[in-house]
Structures are given as structure tokens and as C-alpha cells.
């Protein structure tokens, strides 16, 4: 009954979306306000409808309606209530519906804004949002239906169908399979919603971009309108990525946070292009340049978002995250192909309108450096995209070798692994370049900068950062990559603080304000700029954490008897005891107690454990971690002697500075809040366009 209600609502939502698409199109063509308003109302209606659908699944999940296939797949009797609710996005069918629900929430929020000034955008924004929504609804209705039930056939077998096939009766299993243990972690509970929020929010700037292309209003208006949406999308996507990293660090038990897995990469790619977009739109706003490029970037971001959703939820590029396999691949690729080609045709159609108003005048101008930033982000994207698709490509190209025997030694068709070593061997260079730009670009001016003007602005922070390097060398650092990395980090930190200081000081002098007050007002005056600088600082702190763990991680493994100890760096880990017991939620837990000593001094106890889930027959390794700004001690219980529990194998990682990775992410969220905070005088921004730029041009 509830399943039928949920499914019927999905179908109605789909029909409403299709109606909205048609009404929006006709409304725009015939210039009919009534039709456009009707399309907008259709958009607004999808949200309550999808809420009913989502609530229907949640109801089924909470109440253990195991006759529904999805409920059996992702829940079990022993699971606590909060996990049953969050199981909504624990499997493929549920997460697709969840995606649609978030999408309709965002699109509805957009349609609720005041449209008086930009009414011509409204039908097209509605149309693009509804087309995207309709596509995901097609997937939910026809391919990945979360409401399908089990049926008992007269022959005794079990079949699945939405409605009762003739001669069958409903089959209700006593218990479900339970949620994949890897997903039962707080990080994993918030990680997918954050990532999805980031994904769906990027649909909004894309919808405005398409609206701008169709209507021919190719000035920076669409960018100004979506400025805050873009930042919000970016923050959520970043947060989703960081939470995923934290989850991997806590749950996957490999001592790291990023494995260059195709699924991680698929969320990282839209982030890279989205970040490039976030920077290059500033150039369009300030200088009226890069209009064509911005269009390409947002189209690419949108299609990478769809690609990312697809990769996470299909088994095409199988990886640790690819829990589900399904036949939705061709549909996804078809949709990506159609939207990409259509959007690019629109860009080409408007190519001349999108030409820059002005030209680049100086190699070191801020716009030139932003363009360089875009090149590096785009380069990173190309590298990662290539790494993700190459294994599939090399396997698929094996067919050439089969058809043409003389080429069989080249096109072997062997599946290969493109692992972290490959990525890390390449990406460090563009990342180092980005760090350098983060230091130089804030010191450059729009339109005109020379090596001389930049040099004059940067000698003080450069000198300070060199002193840091000298200090590091004196302390005993000899690793060249580390010195380069820490030099870049300290350079950016000094430049950023210097920028804050100079502006606050200038204001303090000019207006006779108290320095702190001047600092506060200065940030308030240009939130995006200073929010951006705070985000840069957050990124630098994260970079420090990454440098620490990547360059200085130590690890050791050993089997020790009770009372025995393993040493790593300054630390000694002593094996005290091990207990094995069953828990009420269906786990067999082996939990070790180890004492940790630093330089011979007792500093505490850690409890690495191994959880074995009976339902899914999956083990999970939970590390015992002691985290400080200086370093993390990360202890894994690898193995133990089952009967006596008197000896056990531990793997121990020493991860210097990784704490800063998590701390930096808090700083960048703070910066994003500053950057996205609603401005008090939004109208001023629009008026300023009419003021001629006389100062330097």
C-alpha cells in the first residue's frame, strides 16, 4: 500500500515535470506569462510530491517491510533507527530518489526568488532543472525502482515486480541483509548527502548559463545571479569530499585518506572544474573576459556531476565504493552525451556574442594569473579523467587486437590498474603550481602588473617564507619535496596575512578606525575576496597535513605476545589484552587494548578492533587513533590467535601533521561562509556595471 503510494507519487512527479518542461518551453516561445508561471508552479509541486515518495521509503525502511526488495537489501532488524532512516541513501535505488528529492528542493528554492528583473531566464532555468529531474525520475521509475516487491510464484521460486504478477503471492522475508558495514559510520551517514547537495546545487548555475545562452543575455548577469549558488555548491561538494576522506581514514583501515579510487576521483573531477569556474567567473565579472570559457566550464561541471553520480552508483569502473551494479549505464551516458552536445551547440551558436569586451594586456595581470590557475585545474582534471577511464579503455580496446592479430601485442585487452603511484607521480606538479599562484595572484592587479610591481609587493612575504625554509634546514629537514612544499605553504600564509594586514592598516589610517574594527569592516566590505583568502588559508593548512602524511608517514607491522611491544619512531605500543565478544547488533568484535608510550612516557590507551558482521559476512577494521597537531598514531589490529588471544598482529602507522588536514577543512568552511554570506547592498553590485571604468583602461 505505502509502496504503491510512493511509486504512484513518483509517476505523478514525472508527469508534472514533463508538463513543466513543455509549459516552460511554450511559455518562453509565446512569451506567455501564464504558461511560464504554470511551469514554475509545476517545479514547486515536484518538491512536496517527492517528499511524499521519500517519506514512503523511509516508512517502509523504519517498519521493516522486507517484502520490498530495497528494504531487504539495506536494512535488518538489528539496525538502530537512525541507520534505518539513513539507509535511504545506502543503496542505489534509494540514493537516486534522494538525489531527485534534493534536486527538486534546490530548484524550487531558486524558483521562489524574485524574478522581476530576469524574467526571461525563468522559463529556461525551470526547463533545465525539470529536464534533469525528469531524467532521474525515469531512472527511478523504470530502472532502479525502490518500491519493487518480492513475490512467491506457484513453482516455489521468488520473483520481483512492482505489481503482483498473476498467480503469485507476496513474499515477506523475516529479516533483511542489513546495511553494508562500511556505510555504518557517522562520516558515511553525512558524506553522501553533502556530496549530493554539492552535485545538485551545481545544476543551478548550469541552468542559468543555459538560460543566458538561449536568451542571448550573455553578459555577466547570470554569473552574478548564481554567484552564491556556486559558492554553496562548492562548499557542499568540498565538505562531501572531506567527509569522504575522513571516512576512509577512520573506516577503511589503510592508514590514509585518499586512494585515488575511481569513485573518489569522480567526485573530485567536478570539484576541480567547479573550482576553476569559481575563479574564472571573477574575471568575467571584473573584466568581461573568458565568457566562452566560463560557459564551457559550467557545462563540463554539470556533466561531470552527472558522470560522478553515475560512477558512484554503477559498477562500470568497479571500486571499493561501487556497491551496486546496475543496467543504468547506457541511460547515463546517453543523457551526458545529449546534454553536453546540446549545450556546446548553444555555446557555438552564441560564440560571437561571448567574445571578450576587452583584451589581455599584461602577462602578470590578475586575469592572466587566473587563467593560469584555470589551466592547472583543467590539467589536473585531464590527468584524473585519463586515469579513471584508461583501465576501461585499455580493456575495451582489446577488441582491436582480437580483430587484427598483428596488433594483438599492442592492444592486449588486459585490464590494468592505475593506482596511487601513477597519480601521485603527476599531480604534485600542478598542485605545487596552484600553491605558488595562491601566493602570487593576490598581489597582482587587474589589467596591469609587471614582474617589477609583483616583486615589489611580494619581497617581504617571500623573505619571511625563506626564513622558514632556513629554519627547517637548520632543524634538520633535508627532503627536497618537503622543503619545497613547506616553503610554498609558508609563502602563501605570509602573503595572505600580509594582504589582510595591509588592507586593515590602510583603512585604520585612512579612517582613523581601531585596527580590529578596520579589519572587521574590511572583510565585510568585500566578503568574497576575504572569504576567498580564508579559504586559501584553509587549503594551505590542508596541504600541510597532506605533505606531512605523504612525505613522512612511517609504518611497521609485527606479531607480538601479550605484554610484548612494537616501536615506531618515538612511540612504543604495548599489547595489553584482547577480548572477543558478540554484540546485540550482529557483530563479532575482537578488541585489543594497547598502551602507548612516547619517549618512554605513558600517554594513553588505544583500542583497535576488528568487527565481523555476521549478516553480510564482512570484516571491518577500526583503527585506534591518537590524534594531535604534531602527529597521529594509527594502530590496526590485523590478526590474532583465535583461541588463546595471547598474541596478535598489529599494523602501526605514524602519520605526522595529518591533523591539519581536518583542521584546515574547518577553516575553509569558515571562509566559505564569509564568502557566501548575503551582502547587505546587493543592488549596488548591479548599478556598478553602468559606471564606466575610467581609472586605468
Amino acid at each position: 500500500m505505502v509502496a504503491n503510494l510512493g511509486y504512484a507519487t513518483l509517476i505523478i512527479t514525472f508527469l508534472v515535470s514533463i508538463y513543466g518542461v513543455v509549459a516552460a518551453y511554450l511559455g518562453a516561445r509565446r512569451n506567455s506569462h501564464a504558461l511560464v508561471d504554470s511551469a514554475r508552479n509545476a517545479m514547486l509541486l515536484t518538491f512536496p510530491l517527492l517528499t511524499i515518495s521519500a517519506l514512503a521509503i523511509i516508512y517502509l525502511l523504519i517498519n521493516g517491510h522486507y517484502e520490498v526488495q530495497y528494504v531487504t537489501e539495506v536494512t535488518s532488524n538489528s539496525m538502530p533507527l537512525y541507520l534505518k532512516i539513513t539507509a535511504l541513501w545506502g543503496g542505489q535505488a534509494g540514493s537516486l530518489l534522494f538525489w531527485s528529492w534534493l534536486m527538486s528542493a534546490f530548484a524550487s528554492a531558486v524558483t521562489l526568488r524574485k524574478w522581476d528583473r530576469d524574467r526571461e531566464f525563468l522559463p529556461w532555468v525551470t526547463l533545465v532543472s525539470l529536464v534533469t529531474l525528469a531524467f532521474f525520475l525515469i531512472l527511478s521509475i523504470f530502472v532502479e525502482n525502490p518500491f519493487i516487491s518480492f513475490w512467491h510464484t506457484p513453482t516455489g521460486s521468488i520473483t520481483t515486480a512492482m505489481f503482483r504478477p498473476a498467480g503469485t503471492s507476496l513474499f515477506i522475508p523475516q529479516d533483511g541483509n542489513g546495511l553494508n558495514p562500511l556505510l555504518r559510520h557517522p562520516g558515511m551517514i553525512i558524506h553522501p548527502p553533502m556530496l549530493y547537495l554539492g552535485f545538485v546545487a551545481f545544476v543551478i548555475p548550469y541552468a542559468f548559463a543555459i538560460a543566458a545562452l538561449v536568451t542571448g543575455r550573455t553578459d555577466a548577469r547570470w554569473i552574478r545571479l548564481t554567484r552564491r549558488w556556486t559558492i554553496v555548491a562548492w562548499v557542499f561538494l568540498s565538505l562531501g569530499l572531506v567527509l569522504g576522506m575522513r571516512w576512509a581514514y577512520d573506516v577503511l583501515g589503510w592508514g590514509g585518506y585518499w586512494g585515488w579510487d575511481p569513485v573518489e576521483n569522480s567526485a573530485f573531477m567536478p570539484w576541480l572544474i567547479g573550482t576553476a569556474f569559481l575563479h574564472s567567473v571573477i574575471v568575467q565579472e571584473k573584466r568581461g573576459m573568458l565568457k566562452q570559457w566560463n560557459m564551457v566550464l559550467i557545462i563540463l561541471t554539470y556533466d561531470l556531476v552527472i558522470f560522478g553520480t553515475f560512477l558512484t552508483r554503477s559498477g562500470v569502473l568497479s571500486s571499493v565504493h561501487a556497491f551496486a551494479q546496475s543496467a543504468i549505464g547506457p541511460l547515463f551516458f546517453g543523457f551526458i552525451g545529449v546534454t553536453f552536445i546540446t549545450s556546446m551547440i548553444l555555446v557555438i551558436y552564441r560564440w560571437d556574442d561571448l567574445k571578450s569586451d576587452v583584451e589581455m594586456t599584461s602577462w602578470f595581470s590578475r586575469e592572466a594569473l587566473f587563467l593560469l590557475n584555470n589551466l592547472l585545474f583543467f590539467g589536473l582534471f585531464i590527468v584524473i579523467f585519463w586515469g579513471v577511464i584508461f583501465p576501461v579503455l585499455s580493456e575495451a580496446l582489446g577488441i582491436v587486437g582480437q580483430k587484427i592479430p598483428s596488433l594483438s601485442s599492442i592492444f592486449t585487452g588486459q585490464k590494468v590498474t592505475v593506482g596511487p603511484q601513477w597519480y601521485e607521480g603527476i599531480v604534485w606538479l600542478p598542485f605545487a603550481g596552484l600553491l605558488l599562484l595562491m601566493g602570487i595572484a593576490p598581489l597582482s592587479s587587474w589589467q596591469y602588473s609587471t614582474a617589477k610591481t609583483i616583486g615589489r609587493a611580494m619581497w617581504k612575504p617571500s623573505l619571511a617564507s625563506l626564513l622558514v625554509v632556513i629554519g627547517l634546514v637548520l632543524v634538520g629537514f633535508r627532503s627536497l619535496p618537503a622543503l619545497l612544499g613547506f616553503w610554498l605553504c609558508s609563502f602563501v600564509i605570509f602573503v595572505t596575512f600580509y594582504e589582510f594586514w595591509r588592507a586593515a592598516w590602510a583603512r585604520h589610517h585612512a579612517r582613523n578606525e581601531n585596527l580590529l574594527l578596520a579589519f572587521w569592516f574590511m572583510i565585510g566590505k568585500n566578503r568574497r575576496r576575504y572569504g576567498g583568502y580564508i579559504i586559501h588559508l584553509g587549503m594551505i593548512l590542508m596541504a600541510i597535513g597532506i605533505l606531512g602524511i605523504e612525505l613522512f608517514q612511517e609504518q611497521t607491522q609485527g606479531t607480538i605476545p601479550q605484554g610484548g611491544q612494537i616501536e615506531i619512531g618515538q612511540y612504543t605500543v604495548k599489547f595489553d589484552s584482547l577480548s572477543v565478544f558478540d554484540t546485540a547488533d550482529g557483530r563479532n568484535v575482537a578488541r585489543a587494548v594497547v598502551s602507548v608510550y612516547k619517549d618512554g612516557r605513558y600517554i594513553g590507551e588505544l583500542h583497535p578492533r576488528r568487527d565481523y558482521y555476521y549478516e553480510s559476512q564482512q570484516p571491518m577494521t577500526i583503527a585506534g587513533v591518537r590524534s594531535t597537531p604534531e602527529d597521529d598514531l594509527y594502530v590496526l589490529l590485523v590478526d590474532w590467535q583465535p583461541l588463546s588471544t595471547s598474541a596478535a598482529t598489529f599494523k602501526i602507522y605514524h602519520n605526522p601533521l595529518v591533523w591539519w588536514l581536518w583542521f584546515g577543512s574547518i577553516v575553509f568552511i569558515l571562509g566559505s561562509v564569509v564568502a557566501a554570506w548575503p551582502s547587505k547592498e546587493p543592488e549596488m553590485v548591479m548599478v556598478s556595471k553602468s559606471i564606466p571604468e575610467t581609472s586605468k583602461a
Binding site: 589581455m360 589551466l375 584508461f390 596591469y448 599494523k651 581609472s695
Partner: protein
């Protein structure tokens, strides 16, 4: 007599202690876990894709690690062991594709793409860049205003200009 018993018990304890120590040290495998992991880190089992062998918790992977230990104990070197696994399970067990045949593409495409990007950007810059009319531009170093702190002045100019632009 009593002394004898004490001595005997001491001796026994000592012998037993040695035996225990021997058992404990006999349990320590000849090639250490760290040596095994050093090689396992570079390998991937075909089942648990994208999880390096040194950290994979499955039984199958534990057996593979034991195999590496065995081979090390037999005197095989790192390359021989890797070759052995490639022979058994194909190229996919290696963390990076072996540079042969079409796999060259995986190493060549990224640098070529980035260099192409640099070239395109360079060309675009050249075509965009207009000759600068020096009299139009303010920060002309030879005519810099003689003030106490030139950077400060330039900065205030910039600040004012940006406020104007908004």
C-alpha cells in the same frame, strides 16, 4: 637438599624460559611483515579491486601475503615475486600499468595534454596582448610618486579603484 631444589627450579625456569623465548622467536617469521608489506603495497589482488594487498583484510589477500613471505624465504627478490603474480593473474595486479603497448598512452597523454594547454594559452596570450600604451597606465615605475611608502600608496590606489569598480 633445599639448595639443590632451588637450583633445579632455577634451572628449570631458565630452560623453560629459553624454550618459551625460542617458541616466541620461532613464531616470528623469517621475512618480517614489513618486508612482505613492502612488496604487497605495490600489488592489487584481482578480487578486491583498488585495495592494495598490504591493507586488504580478506582471507584471500592474507594468503597472498603468506605466499610473498614464502617466496621471500625461498630467496626470491622483489621483481621475481611481482613477475610471478603478473604471470598468474595478469597486469592488473600491478599498481601502475607496465609501460608496454597501449599502456604507453597512460604515461604520455597527461604531459602532452598539459603541454598542449600551455601552448594554447601562450598563443592566446600573444594574440590578446595589445601593445600597452604607457601613458595610459598609472604604475609607471619611472614616474612613481615620490612618497614615503610607495607600496602603501599603490595599494591605496588599488583599493580605491576596486571600491569604485564595485
Amino acid at each position: 637438599m633445599r639448595i639443590k631444589i632451588i637450583l633445579l627450579s632455577y634451572l628449570l625456569t631458565l630452560v623453560m624460559g629459553v624454550t618459551v623465548v625460542e617458541i616466541v622467536s620461532a613464531q616470528q617469521p623469517t621475512p618480517s611483515d614489513d618486508q612482505v608489506n613492502e612488496i604487497a603495497k605495490q600489488l592489487y589482488c584481482p578480487v578486491c579491486e583498488n585495495i592494495p594487498l598490504d591493507v586488504c583484510p580478506t582471507t584471500a589477500c592474507a594468503q597472498w601475503r603468506e605466499l610473498i613471505r614464502q617466496k621471500l624465504a625461498d630467496g626470491w627478490n622483489e621483481q621475481q615475486i611481482k613477475d610471478y603474480f603478473v604471470l598468474q593473474y595478469g597486469d592488473r595486479v600491478l599498481g601502475t600499468p607496465p609501460p608496454e603497448g597501449i599502456n604507453w598512452l597512460v604515461y604520455l597523454v597527461p604531459p602532452i595534454a598539459i603541454l598542449a594547454g600551455v601552448y594554447i594559452l601562450f598563443r592566446a596570450f600573444r594574440s590578446w596582448k595589445r601593445p600597452i600604451q604607457s601613458d595610459n597606465l598609472q604604475p609607471n615605475s619611472s614616474e612613481a610618486p615620490q612618497s614615503t611608502d610607495p607600496t602603501q600608496d599603490e595599494y591605496i590606489n588599488r583599493l580605491e579603484e576596486e571600491v569604485r569598480k564595485r
